[in-house]
């Protein structure tokens, strides 16, 4: 076990280092280099997308463009940009993180989210449940998560953008079903009483659930759940889609404060625009993100996304800024539900 862990770690490290080494060696051949600062679960997506865009750009303009991607927790990534990392584009898990960059550095306009279609979210996702094969605890919907003896795995909303979607999805469900914010709060509180481990990020939670065998259900991004099944085997896990969930819109933005100085504004904008093309949308779908435009995409590919009633953060929470402040700020509702005696 320990050996396989260390071997897996080694391959993972090698896998992570490889693109860096490649990027470093090929940088000289490239005319343009872009830096895309992204969050954790987009590794596979942008790996595929970057080579497609490079090809497209070379055909269109003859310029060679190389895109480097930095991955990490969404909030941490936002902080590195605030602290001066020269990102040309940011593709993060939450609008709130890009808002934070705009607010702290003025490198983005305050209305950055109106610069691209669909709220600057070229692909969406949602929150689903990953359970062990055969669904031994018979988990069908959100209510089943707070039953006696069910252990739920989710990352910490304070350190993980994905976990905030989990939390808000549960809240939105409970408020509709039980009719008030107080009842929604009670529901979310009892949900978190069923959480034995709060990892700091989405991948950490997946490991806790899948490798360590902790918990009965993992709350996960839909694309993470698919990747986990691909990676760890459909014989071990299955995906359960709840009756209602949240429309997770990971947004993208150009950072003009950096690109203007580097002269990369045009290509950075084209890079994000191309995400909305048929090719870009297809790559998103292939990587288990829901495309926002389905024309021209093989319907067979679309079959992987089950129909589910989705609500948006704007409908239910009045936007990210408000949700962030109310629920996840210091002393906010999430902090309160953990207070002993509450």
């Amino acid at each position: 076990m320990a050996q396989s862990v260390s071997r897996r770690l080694l391959t993972r490290v090698a896998f992570l280092a490889l693109p860096l080494v490649l990027a470093a060696t090929l940088a000289q051949a490239a005319n343009i280099t872009l830096l895309n600062v992204s969050y954790d679960p987009t590794r596979e997506l942008y790996k595929a997308y970057n080579s497609a865009f490079a090809k497209h750009w070379a055909e269109k303009t003859g310029d060679k463009v190389r895109v480097r991607v930095s991955h990490g927790g969404s909030g941490k990534q936002a902080r590195t940009v605030i602290d001066g990392l020269d990102a040309d584009v940011v593709t993060l898990a939450l609008a709130a993180d890009i808002d934070a960059i705009a607010k702290a550095t003025q490198k983005l306009p305050a209305d950055w989210q109106s610069k691209f279609p669909h709220n600057s979210a070229p692909y969406t996702s949602t929150i689903v449940f990953l359970v062990r094969k055969g669904n031994p605890k018979n988990i069908k919907d959100w209510d089943d998560l707070v039953k006696d003896g069910v252990a739920v795995i989710t990352p910490n909303p304070k350190t993980s953008g994905g976990a905030r979607w989990n939390y808000l999805a549960a809240w939105g469900y409970a408020r509709d079903k039980y009719g008030s914010d107080e009842k929604a709060r009670a529901f979310v509180q009892s949900l978190f009483r069923h959480v034995p481990v709060l990892d700091t990020g989405a991948r950490g939670s997946t490991t806790t659930f899948a490798q360590r065998g902790i918990g009965d259900v993992l709350l996960a991004w839909e694309n993470e759940a698919f990747l986990a099944i691909n990676e760890l085997g459909p014989e071990a896990f299955e995906i359960i889609v709840p009756s209602v969930s949240i429309l997770a819109e990971p947004p993208v933005a150009v950072v003009p404060g950096n690109t203007d100085a580097k002269g990369t504004t045009a290509v950075a904008t084209a890079y994000l625009d191309y995400l909305y093309s048929v090719e870009g949308q297809k790559i998103a779908a292939e990587n288990y993100y829901r495309p926002v435009k389905t024309e021209g995409i093989d319907p067979a590919l679309m079959k992987r996304f089950p129909e589910v009633k989705l609500f948006t953060i704007d409908d239910k929470f009045g936007g990210w800024a408000k949700a962030q402040e109310e629920h996840f700020s210091n002393g906010g509702i999430f902090d309160q539900i953990f207070k002993p005696g509450n």
Binding site: A104, N156, K158, T159, L198, G213, F328, P340
Partner: protein, 285 residues
């Protein structure tokens, strides 16, 4: 540690066998200033952007207190465990000759060399309910991973080399003759141990304890995987600092960091004083 000037009172220029004392002192001060004092000053300065009232409000918040208590408590237990078992390890390595001794001697340093995150992942894999050790403990109702006990184990792991490496040289220097003398004077084994051996080892043991403790208090990488990170239960103070940073609350993060620094410094100072007292009392340097 604080030897040298202490015995003679403060005298800056002291005849020395080494030439160029002035230059060396200048280098020492500059180097310490750049590497240690400047970053710490930056930390304190950042905290100072808050008023005293605000700092106090942050560090006395129930959740912060719970995290500080957990960090310092588990670090203390881990350092104490290391003091006992590290002493044992050092004793065996110094006093006995057995095949593979050199290998074990080298293995002691592994927790230094291993990236802490790797240590954390390996320990979690072992102690998780489906891990090699966790599987055996689970039926006994003993949960290690994702509880404070798991934190203690991670901190014991990373702290071990400190005690072994500080005690080892003193043990090597320890005269066997004094032990034999005490035996010929009629002392029993445990009397020899309590009156002769331990007092001599005590300063080194305390140094090892203090180092292991200081290292454990601030430990993040190895703990984060095994802790469980539930607020008020298994959330360590360094994680709370990381959380404050996620909230873009730099001043709040540094306030907790400064509180940890002040606490650690106080504890280390006290340990140092005890050590100095021990040295005077038993006259062993």
């Amino acid at each position: 540690m604080t030897r040298g000037a202490a015995g003679q009172g403060i005298r800056f220029v002291k005849p020395s066998v080494l030439p160029g004392f002035g230059l060396a002192l200048g280098f020492t001060l500059t180097y310490m200033g750049l590497i240690v004092l400047l970053p710490l000053a930056a930390l304190v300065l950042k905290t100072a952007s808050l008023g005293w009232g605000e700092i106090w409000a942050i560090i006395t918040e129930a959740r912060v207190l719970a995290a500080l208590r957990l960090s310092f408590g588990t670090a203390f237990i881990a350092a104490a465990l290391n003091a006992v078992f590290g002493l044992l390890v050092a004793w065996v390595l110094v006093r006995y000759r057995f095949p593979g001794r050199r290998l074990f001697d080298a293995v002691v340093d592994l927790p230094f060399a291993l990236p802490t995150a790797v240590a954390g992942i390996a320990l979690t894999a072992l102690y998780a309910p489906n891990g090699w050790i966790g599987k055996l403990l689970e039926p006994l109702g003993l949960k290690v991973a994702y509880t404070p006990l798991g934190i203690v184990i991670a901190l014991t792991f990373i702290g071990l080399p400190f005690v072994v490496r500080t005690v080892q040289p003193v043990l090597e220097d320890l005269d066997r003759e004094t032990e034999e003398a005490s035996a010929t004077l009629g002392a029993r084994r445990h009397q020899t141990l309590a009156r002769v051996v331990l007092p001599t080892l005590l300063p080194a043991l305390l140094t090892g304890f203090a180092l292991a403790f200081a290292r454990a208090v601030g430990e993040y990488g190895s703990v984060i995987f095994i802790a469980g990170n539930i607020p008020y239960v298994s959330e360590i103070a360094p994680l709370l600092i990381a959380i404050k940073l996620e909230e873009f609350d730099y001043a709040g993060a540094t306030a907790i960091a400064t509180a940890m620094l002040a606490l650690s410094f106080t504890i280390l100072l006290v340990l140092n004083l005890i050590q100095a007292y021990g040295r005077r009392r038993y006259g062993h340097d």
